[in-house]
Symmetry: C2
Subunit: 216 residues, 2 copies
């Protein structure tokens, strides 16, 4: 285990490797080589070995990696061994879609609270046990329900002030869907999913057909 700082790019790839290991495990595969993993997502095998080597020596020379072992290691490294308790702020189309998205419920992320400012939405029971509550209740509900992560699906103009509330309530990880650059706050990690940027990047590609399409 090195003490070097580990880049976000490496962490993102660990998620990708883990997903693949889950499939291999499902399929009953015992071991896998970095070469085989690399071919799945056209990456370089040395990159995979380097990524993993930041965290330990998980492989067996001449053999590869034991699927079950590496899978458990990655789940541990990524903090997925424990379930995260997630709140969604903003019960519009996107917020509700995320609340109902099955991909999260089953796994390591559980939606445990849902907030909005619109009185028309407050009280709506999205599914059994998950009711839209007033944003005013956020400061008390977040510690009460032990929320450790928030998804922000509020309009861009509201995002900065809601982030402030959320950080004050002790949350240290936020996934922001508002198309805006949020100011950096010590101790709180914010990741932004910006659909406009993605769409505009596709638009650029369409407008400039000389450029060959490439991996993002």
């Amino acid at each position: 285990m090195k003490t070097e700082k580990i880049s976000e790019l490496t962490i993102n790839r660990l998620s990708i490797y883990l997903r693949c290991l889950n499939e291999l495990s499902e399929a009953g595969v015992q071991t896998v080589s970095s070469k085989l993993l690399a071919e799945q997502f056209n990456l370089n095998s040395a990159q995979i070995r380097k990524d993993l080597a930041y965290f330990g020596e998980f492989g067996v020379r001449g053999v590869g990696y034991v699927v079950e072992d590496l899978r458990e290691q990655l789940r541990g490294i990524l903090g997925l061994a424990t379930t995260h308790r997630v709140a969604i702020v903003g019960a519009g189309n996107l917020g509700l879609a995320l609340a109902n998205y099955l991909g999260f419920q089953q796994d390591s992320f559980q939606i445990v609270a849902l907030f909005d400012v619109d009185p028309a939405r407050i009280g709506l029971e999205v599914r059994p046990g998950l009711v839209v509550r007033s944003l005013d209740l956020l400061p008390s509900v977040i510690p009460e329900r032990q929320v450790d992560m928030v998804m922000l699906t509020v309009p861009a103009v509201a995002a900065e002030s809601v982030l402030e509330m959320v950080v004050q309530a002790g949350v240290r990880a936020v996934l922001n869907f508002a198309p805006i650059h949020l100011s950096v706050r010590p101790g709180c990690k914010v990741k932004t999913v910006d659909l406009s940027i993605s769409l505009e990047s596709l638009s650029y590609f369409l407008a400039n057909p000389t450029v060959e399409p490439q991996e993002e």
Copy 2:
């Protein structure tokens, strides 16, 4: 205008600059310096100047950039002067949320078709003029409605085969929400928005609190 290949990172930043210029324009600001722009999203001012310099000399030394001019230039470069016609494949929670998301409708992206395989969803009128249609109709509807972009909101297992259909129908730009690595197809650009990766990266941060939070 250089002939160098321009990185995806540069293109993404152009979108960010454009959004800021739209706000400045709205506020009636005449000119802006790279330094001021940089401070908005803690970037380096040289980076902004370099990004812009790939496409031309838009600035005035000693003055900065004329907001309206640069705004129009960026809209042109990003292919936003013309409206894109977008189809959504997969009318589940996420697909419907995107179909109703106002952020797109007003701007350069117009949702003009919506597909699903589930008979229970086919025929649903999401809003006036936008009805969920059978996936079987995709090959004919896409050219008919002049769709040039697709958002894929189908389950991961279906994504690869739907992508094949979409590419066959002549679409060259796809925004994929399925948590899977899609194979690269010549002439078609695919961008993936992978929420699991984002969430797991936040989870890593929570599990490793020694690391300082940083810009994504």
